[in-house]
Symmetry: C2
Subunit: 220 residues, 2 copies
């Protein structure tokens, strides 16, 4: 088995994605320190913008009540060096990379891991089309740092309430005597949940999560 | 005919693209100054990244010998406020826009034209899928400021020569007595073209364009 086939098999084992043309996979994992005339850089250029598009679409469709500023923050939570190099590590891709191991004695630097996640996405796209690339994107999302559930709770509750009752939930938040905050949530005019917290934001998030879980249970 | 149908018909006349769901088209052309609760901003968020991806792919496939830094420059030549508002004007989209005409007495500002080109691309994508969006993208490219032919001539010549003769063309450039530069190009070892210019770069571009046209003619 030659090197190209071997790397293609390894990639398929790690990701479940098979390449028709292994050359482009080799290009995607080749750092310029290894061979002078092969490098992932053009693919990384394409992959960077493809990842940004997929991530934008993902959050656009998932959070219909969020404004563009918030969507942009969510996108950045995926498309950033730290997260992408984390995904690279989660997917165990280090062995695949062609790099001058003498120059990079310890581990592969985060910046190169990030680049290779992007170049791989482009390679999968060019080899297997948009569907294959979306499969790869799902792997990226699945292996990304997760955003805390509370972060989205308020939004999800709003969507659920709007969808079912055509009205937004009502948040009533007051400061308690012990200098804590208490938030009560009313959905469709009825009391639904309550939570305490050290700030207005904190107790509203907590109460929203409780309310969301309660309403979700009612559906099932 | 109601407003939604009318705007959908107008858009179809101007671009050849028909919407199944006119609501999303209305959203794409609605500035927040017109109606408080409808605005193109979420669509613009999505369209911005889709346009960046399409443009990256376009140049990635078109110029195989260019490095990522140059590809990035080409992308910027399309994805920038001045060019996108130029495309907007070329496509005659002003009448479609829902905007408070009193606040914007003269013309629609460039920044809004740019936003709407992007939001429209996203709307076409969400309504008609990737194929419809690529049709819209072709219109954007077709109506963009063109990059001077000489700019790419050297690269196109290199690709042609590599593809046909498996070798790069040879550029021999010397300074003439009149302080002008002369470039002679040899393809596959044979003399092909010659040009003069005030700088090395200029005469090489000119000579490359001549050589490219000559070789192209030979194919036909």
């Amino acid at each position: 088995m030659n090197e190209r086939e071997s790397i293609s098999d390894k990639f398929s084992c790690l990701t479940g994605i098979k390449f028709k043309n292994a050359d482009i996979l080799v290009e995607a994992v080749s750092h310029r320190s290894f061979k002078k005339d092969v490098s992932y850089q053009r693919l990384e250029f394409l992959g960077d913008s493809l990842l940004s598009f997929f991530t934008s679409e993902y959050f656009y469709r998932k959070y219909k009540l969020f404004a563009e500023g918030e969507l942009s923050k969510f996108r950045t939570s995926i498309v950033n060096r730290e997260n992408l190099s984390h995904v690279f590590t989660q997917l165990n891709l280090s062995d695949l990379v062609f790099i001058d191991r003498k120059s990079f004695k310890d581990d592969i630097p985060e910046s190169i891991k990030e680049d290779i996640m992007e170049s791989l996405l482009a390679a999968v796209y060019l080899d297997g089309g948009i569907r294959a690339a979306k499969k790869m994107f799902k792997l990226i999302i699945k292996n990304s740092h997760s955003v805390p559930e509370e972060f989205f709770a308020k939004n999800q509750l709003q969507e659920l309430s709007l969808g079912r009752y055509k009205s937004l939930p009502e948040f009533k938040t007051v400061e308690s005597e012990e200098k804590e905050f208490v938030c009560r949530i009313y959905v469709n005019g009825k009391y639904c949940s309550e939570a305490q917290g050290k700030s207005k934001k904190e107790c509203e998030k907590k109460a929203a999560l409780l309310a969301f879980r309660k309403l979700e249970k009612e559906i099932q």
